[in-house]
Structure formats: structure tokens, C-alpha cells
């Protein structure tokens, strides 16, 4: 294990985040504020509460998840795609760093950045709604596991992508729709039975449900199922990354 290598990649990626700190912070804070204005005030004024939770507060876990998923995927995919684009990927391939160190560095940094922004959104939400977290440790656990799982997914997208267009297509066409349809702004119980069954095919529903449970004790699906879903995603993604580095697919000739 090359710990200096893994730590260097992690610090290097975090440095990129801090170099553009205002862009990194301003964009999610502004989006969150807009979501609160649109969903919390305009629509929330009509919905009032969902299962006893004020609508403005109800959407906070969904908003955090939306951001964590988007940030995890985009940070990790860009992190590994940029060296491929600029040609500096050769450094990782010729130095004594293995797939574990490279993944730890890139994915770890992407996940930490996403978690930091999620906390920023939570802090922003206190300006709009009254919030309290029922199970803070579980909230942290869900946040960490989800950020990790989607950073791994983003890392795979970055390894796979051959152009900036490909880099954008999965987050835009797959991740964002899954989050919106995964109960970020509503409970699956609010859907007609048929659509509730369809919604339960969406893996993101399980993440948002578990995360919302840690806030309010309310869940669309059992919490253990949510945990198993995110753990399964982590295992599958790790397996794919290991295979990519072992075979050199899209990395080595």
C-alpha cells in the first residue's frame, strides 16, 4: 500500500476544490435557496405537511441527497477524467500506485467534497425552516455511504468517458431523473399504488428514504433495505473499478 501516493491524490483533489471555493459553495447554496423559495414557499404553502412534517423541512433530506448525488458523481468523474483529457494520467499509470490508492484518493476527495456541500445545504436550510435531526449518527452514516457509492459511480463514468459530452450524459440523463423520481420532494406513499410500485424500482428512493428516516423517523421502505441497497452499490462499483484497472480498459493500450 502506497499511503503517500493515496494521500497525495486526496490532497491534490481537495486543493482543486479549494482553488474554486466560491464557485463550489455559491452554486449549491443558491440552488438550495431557490428550491426553498419554489418548493418550500410556493408549493409548500399549499401542501402544509407530509405525514406530520412541515413540507419545507420534509424536502431538506431530499435536497441534501440531490446535491450529494450530483456532486459525488461530477467531482469523481471530472477528477479522473481531467488527467485523461490533459494527458497527465500517465503519471498514475507509471508510478507505484495501485487501483486501491488511486480510488481512495479520487473517490475519497469527491465524497468529502460532496459531504461538505451537503452540510452547507443543511446549514442554509436553517435560515428557511425549523430543522432537527432525530438520528444524527445514522444521518452521518447514510450521508457517508451515499457519497461514497455515488463517487464510485462517478469515478467509473470518468474512467469510461472519452469526451466531456459523455462525462455529462450519465449525470444529466440518469442520476438527476432518478433523484427527482426517487422521492426527493414527495413521499412514495403520495403516489397511486401502481406508480408507488414503479418508484420502488428506483434505487435512489431507498437512499433518500433511509436518509429521511434519520431526520424524521419516516421511511418509504425499511431502513435495513436502504442500507443493503447502498452497500450493494458500493460493492458492485468497487468490483467494476478493480476490473478496469486489472485489464487496463480505457487506460492502458
Amino acid at each position: 500500500m502506497n499511503r503517500h501516493g493515496a494521500a497525495a491524490i486526496f490532497r491534490h483533489e481537495m486543493a482543486r476544490f479549494f482553488r474554486t471555493i466560491w464557485q463550489s459553495i455559491a452554486s449549491p447554496v443558491l440552488s438550495t435557496a431557490l428550491y426553498f423559495v419554489v418548493f418550500g414557499s410556493a408549493i409548500g404553502g399549499r401542501i402544509q405537511s407530509v405525514e406530520g412534517v412541515p413540507y419545507g423541512a420534509f424536502i431538506v433530506p431530499g435536497l441534501m441527497m440531490l446535491t450529494v448525488l450530483q456532486q459525488s458523481v461530477s467531482n469523481a468523474s471530472f477528477g479522473i477524467y481531467f488527467p485523461k483529457f490533459s494527458g497527465t494520467i500517465y503519471e498514475y499509470l507509471v508510478s507505484p500506485v495501485g487501483w486501491v490508492e488511486i480510488t481512495l484518493g479520487f473517490v475519497g476527495a469527491a465524497a468529502v467534497k460532496a459531504i461538505l456541500i451537503a452540510f452547507l445545504i443543511l446549514a442554509t436550510s436553517y435560515f428557511f425552516v425549523e430543522m432537527h435531526v432525530l438520528h444524527p449518527l445514522w444521518m452521518l452514516a447514510f450521508l457517508f455511504l451515499t457519497a461514497l457509492a455515488f463517487s464510485l459511480l462517478g469515478f467509473i463514468i470518468g474512467l469510461w468517458a472519452k469526451s466531456f459530452e459523455q462525462l455529462q450524459v450519465v449525470p444529466l440523463m440518469v442520476v438527476t431523473p432518478l433523484v427527482f423520481l426517487g422521492g426527493a420532494f414527495y413521499s412514495a406513499d403520495m403516489l397511486p399504488p401502481f406508480w408507488e410500485s414503479v418508484a420502488k424500482l428506483n434505487p435512489v428512493l431507498y437512499l433518500i428514504s433511509g436518509f429521511r428516516w434519520s431526520f424524521f423517523g419516516l421511511a418509504d421502505v425499511p431502513v435495513t433495505v436502504s442500507l443493503l441497497a447502498v452497500a450493494a452499490m458500493i460493492v458492485v462499483c468497487m468490483g467494476i473499478i478493480r476490473w478496469i484497472f486489472a485489464t487496463g480498459w480505457r487506460l492502458r493500450d
Partner: protein, 312 residues
């Protein structure tokens, strides 16, 4: 004694069917400068890319410092530094951070004294805080060398180190390479500038169509393949070559003032003594005699033009 790099029966066939390397075996001695010469697409970059870990070989083995590059890759890679052909640097990173980063990737703890020494040796210390995008092409290439030296490698690969750089900078790069050799680093450089190989290398390997056509010391190559030309300045210009002097390799200059005689230095009889005797016998007076030797470029062209080229 085994070399610092031992290559045995190395082959690489790409998915497209192109055979970039074909059964190459080679031993590289510690502390030498080896120049790999060959036309574009000959397989030079594929060879060093396999040794460094960028390309997976189809068959064969490579050992660096006794470590197999596939089964003991971490130990093998720690001994290697690579300066790639293309300039690839993170544009917003400072020079010193870029060098520190590479050192860390090689598993080495921070050592700013060493980083400073490397940057000073490459005349980059004054630019240590500059972002790499602000540097000239030559400086960027030196940053790549600094990065490759950041972990004190025993073997340095320079892939076309002076491609696209001006003459002054090329000479500067040669000085850098010589300094590195003096510090004990084994250097393998690929080039298609014959002047470069002639100027710097201890040994020259010629790669053509994926095969190692030849590997010899520069002196051996010049001796073995070099042809010399004997130039004889005549007392009086001749209107034509007298019949008594005619022989293969001998030609009269256009103005008739000199004779040029090409001969093979490794031949048992060069024919020089006989030619001089025949000149005297035919009453041709000689004013001066000199010899010129064929350049490495001519030797190289002879080697790679022996078989017809195929497009890869």
C-alpha cells in the same frame, strides 16, 4: 553480469492487428546512455511504454533492477522515471507542487531539499511558484524531467526529449542528460534525430518495424557500417577518368580536379595502395589526400532501407 533492464522476447500486437514490437530482447547496462533510433512508428515508444507500465505486452518479460514489471511492478516502477513525448502538465499547478506531487505518487515522503536541488539543476528554481501554463515549451519539458527525477530513479526514460524544440534548447537538454549520467542515472532515450544519438549515446539501438535491427556501441557501429571516402586532389585536372584507373567506387569530380574513392573500412583489402600505384603508373600527379567517413545518418538510412517499409 545482468543489466539494470533485461528484456526477453518482448512482443506487442495491438487489437487492430498492428504488430508494434516483434520478439525484442535487450540488456541495458547500468549507468549507460542508450539511444533507441528508428523512424516514426518503428516501435520505440511502444517499447519504453511497456517497460514503464503504460502498455501491456502481448508476450515476453521485462525485469528492472531484477524486478518483473508485471509480478513485482511496484518495486520495478520505483526505479523508473519517465519523461513522455507529449508535454502533459496540470495547467494551474505550480512547478514545485507538481514535482512534490510526483514524488508522493512514488511513495516517497516529502523532501523539499531534494526537490530544490532538482529544480536548481534544471534552472527552474526561479520559476518554482509559477503555474505550469505560464511556462515556455522548453521549461515545461524541463518540469517533466524534474518530475521524473523527483523520486531519485535509477533509470530515466526520455521519449523524444528534444522533439519540436529549437537548436539552443536541444543543446541545453543534452547538457542536462550528460549531467544526469554523471550522477549515475541510466538513461534510455528515443529519438529520430541522429545527431542526438551521435552526440550523447554510449550505445545505439536501431528499431525498425518492431524489431531490434541492431544494438552496438557508437564506435562499433561506425566501424562496422561506416564507409570511408578517399579524396585525391590532382596536380592537373583530367578531362576523363583514364581506362587504367577505372574501378568500382572511383569517380572523377565534375571539374576533373579530384578523384573520390569509396571503400569499406572492414574489407580485407581496401584497394587504396593499388589505386595510388595505378595513379603513379598512369602519370597522374597527386597534390593532396584526405578521407571522410560516412555519418551515422547514412548508416541508419542504410540499415532501415534494407527491407521495404510497410504502413502500420
Amino acid at each position: 553480469m545482468s543489466g539494470i533492464i533485461e528484456i526477453e522476447n518482448l512482443s506487442k500486437q495491438y487489437g487492430s492487428g498492428t504488430r508494434a514490437l516483434d520478439d525484442v530482447s535487450l540488456s541495458i547496462r547500468e549507468g549507460e546512455i542508450l539511444a533507441l533510433l528508428g523512424p516514426n512508428g518503428a516501435g520505440k515508444t511502444t517499447l519504453i511504454s511497456i517497460i514503464c507500465g503504460l502498455v501491456v505486452p502481448t508476450s515476453g518479460t521485462v525485469r528492472v533492477g531484477g524486478h518483473d514489471i508485471r509480478t513485482d511492478w511496484r518495486a520495478a516502477r520505483r526505479l523508473i522515471g519517465l519523461v513522455p513525448q507529449e508535454i502533459a502538465l496540470e495547467p494551474f499547478e505550480s512547478v514545485i507542487d507538481s514535482v512534490r506531487y510526483t514524488r508522493a505518487l512514488y511513495g516517497e515522503p516529502p523532501d523539499d531539499a531534494h526537490v530544490e536541488a532538482v529544480l536548481r539543476s534544471l534552472a527552474l528554481w526561479g520559476k518554482r511558484d509559477a503555474a505550469t501554463r505560464e511556462l515556455s515549451g522548453g521549461m515545461k519539458r524541463r518540469v517533466l524531467i524534474a518530475k521524473a527525477l523527483s523520486h531519485r530513479p535509477k533509470v530515466l526514460f526520455l521519449d523524444e526529449p528534444t522533439a519540436g524544440v529549437d537548436v539552443v534548447l536541444r543543446r541545453e537538454m543534452w547538457d542536462v542528460v550528460r549531467d544526469l549520467r554523471r550522477s549515475g542515472v541510466t538513461i534510455i532515450l528515443t529519438t529520430h534525430y541522429l545527431e542526438e544519438a551521435e552526440e550523447m549515446a554510449d550505445r545505439i539501438g536501431v528499431i525498425d518495424k518492431g524489431k531490434l535491427a541492431l544494438i552496438q556501441t557508437k564506435a562499433e557501429m561506425m566501424g562496422e557500417f561506416g564507409r570511408k571516402t578517399l579524396v585525391i586532389e590532382l596536380d592537373t585536372a583530367l578531362p576523363a577518368l583514364p581506362a587504367g584507373l577505372a574501378r568500382p567506387g572511383l569517380a572523377l569530380s565534375d571539374d576533373g580536379a579530384s578523384l573520390a574513392y569509396d571503400y569499406d573500412t572492414k574489407a580485407e583489402r581496401t584497394g587504396i595502395a593499388r589505386l595510388l600505384g595505378d595513379l603513379a603508373q598512369n602519370g597522374v600527379g597527386v597534390r593532396d589526400i584526405s578521407t571522410t567517413q560516412s555519418s551515422l545518418e547514412e548508416i541508419f538510412m542504410n540499415l532501415v532501407s534494407e527491407t521495404p517499409r510497410v504502413s502500420a
